[in-house]
Symmetry: C2
Subunit: 203 residues, 2 copies
DNA sequence: GTCTATACACTGATAGAC
DNA sequence: GTCTATCAGTGTATAGAC
């Protein structure tokens, strides 16, 4: 057998690959069955790795789930940062936000992370610290109400309580995310405007 | 011929009471932890009844959950029937629908049934027959698009694909239902108009 | 004695963890 | 692979009204 030590670089590569396999499998399984419905066995089967290897990289089922929630919040935060940092009016930023959130929520593989967020929301009560963690990690949502307020002054956004409008906008994304669980065809027909429209001033 | 030792009405009363205790406890537990996260033990503790008694009235955990989903769909269907049967314009029916759905979703104890619907949606894939059952039981949702079309012709509803608008309206209710899992204060500030507004023609 | 609501120790399977 | 806890579900016994 080959006893020669692997280079540090090679080791790192193997680690990264294994972790990617585990998180990828966990993402699928947790998204479909939820935290309690998902089993480590199922994650091991989907990833094609052994029990020992999975537990080598993650100490527990709970930590794997936390890791996915962390990634989901990061994806969300990055999307918001990208949208809100463009130069332009408040309304243009809102339109950009809809465009980016629409893309990552409904058109590519990252949509699974938004299913994870929903699963975390609906089952997080039994997992210590999770709800608090999500509240902290979702602090960027607070950027929307002032943006709406600015757009209202410019006459672009519909009148009304900016906090409620902001929640409505976010609830709409979450509501459509639930449609993904039912494989509804309707999701294929929506556009960023579907979301922007609830904030648009048509008066 | 009634051979029962206790009076029939007495027995019936005991049964009804026990079943109510079981379903009430199951409603709380399933709503909070989801199907897989809820345990029979937990349901027994909350109901204050023994294992034997619970299994005397329900053959399995799955059947209890199905029973709750069934009740939820019935509550939903009754609400729609009540709203859509009033005399008035299409728009008035939509306003009535918002009013009733808002009431049962966010202001009284039946709101737990809507959490059950969300739990069933997010975890139903692993429960044989559940998704199909929910699709069938939610057939009354198909009544909304034609109603929107009528309201559009009258100039009351916003222009756009009635099917997408209908889905948007329902997704908004579901999205706000998710807020209930997080005990968000914002839910106390919304009104039926929050939902009606996404369909309202303000042009 | 008979029926029925109720109780609870028990089983086999499977979970997470190491 | 192996351990332990816990899961859903069952078999059997008891209490009390007729």
């Amino acid at each position: 057998m080959n006893m020669s030590p692997r280079g540090q670089e090679q080791n790192q590569q193997m680690r990264t690959k294994a972790i990617a396999k585990i998180t990828g499998a966990a993402l699928e399984v947790f998204a479909e069955y939820g935290y309690y419905g998902a089993t480590m066995k199922h994650i091991m089967q989907v990833s094609g790795l052994s029990k020992g290897l999975v537990y080598h990289y993650f100490p527990s089922k709970e930590k794997i789930f936390f890791h996915l929630v962390e990634s989901a919040l990061e994806i969300s935060k990055n999307a918001w940062t990208e949208a809100l940092n463009i130069s332009g009016t408040a309304w243009q930023k809102i339109e950009k936000l809809s465009e980016i959130l629409f893309k990552i929520s409904f058109t590519n593989e990252s949509s699974l992370y938004f299913l994870i967020m929903v699963q975390a929301t609906t089952q997080g009560k039994g997992i210590p610290g999770l709800m608090e963690y999500m509240t902290e990690g979702g602090a960027h949502f607070d950027l929307l109400p002032p943006l709406i307020r600015t757009a209202q002054k410019a006459g672009d956004a519909v009148p009304g309580d900016p906090v409620i409008l902001s929640t409505t906008y976010l609830a709409l994304f979450q509501g459509y995310t639930l449609c993904l669980f039912q494989d509804k065809d309707i999701v294929k027909k929506i556009t960023p405007a579907t979301f922007t429209d609830v904030l648009r001033n048509r008066g």
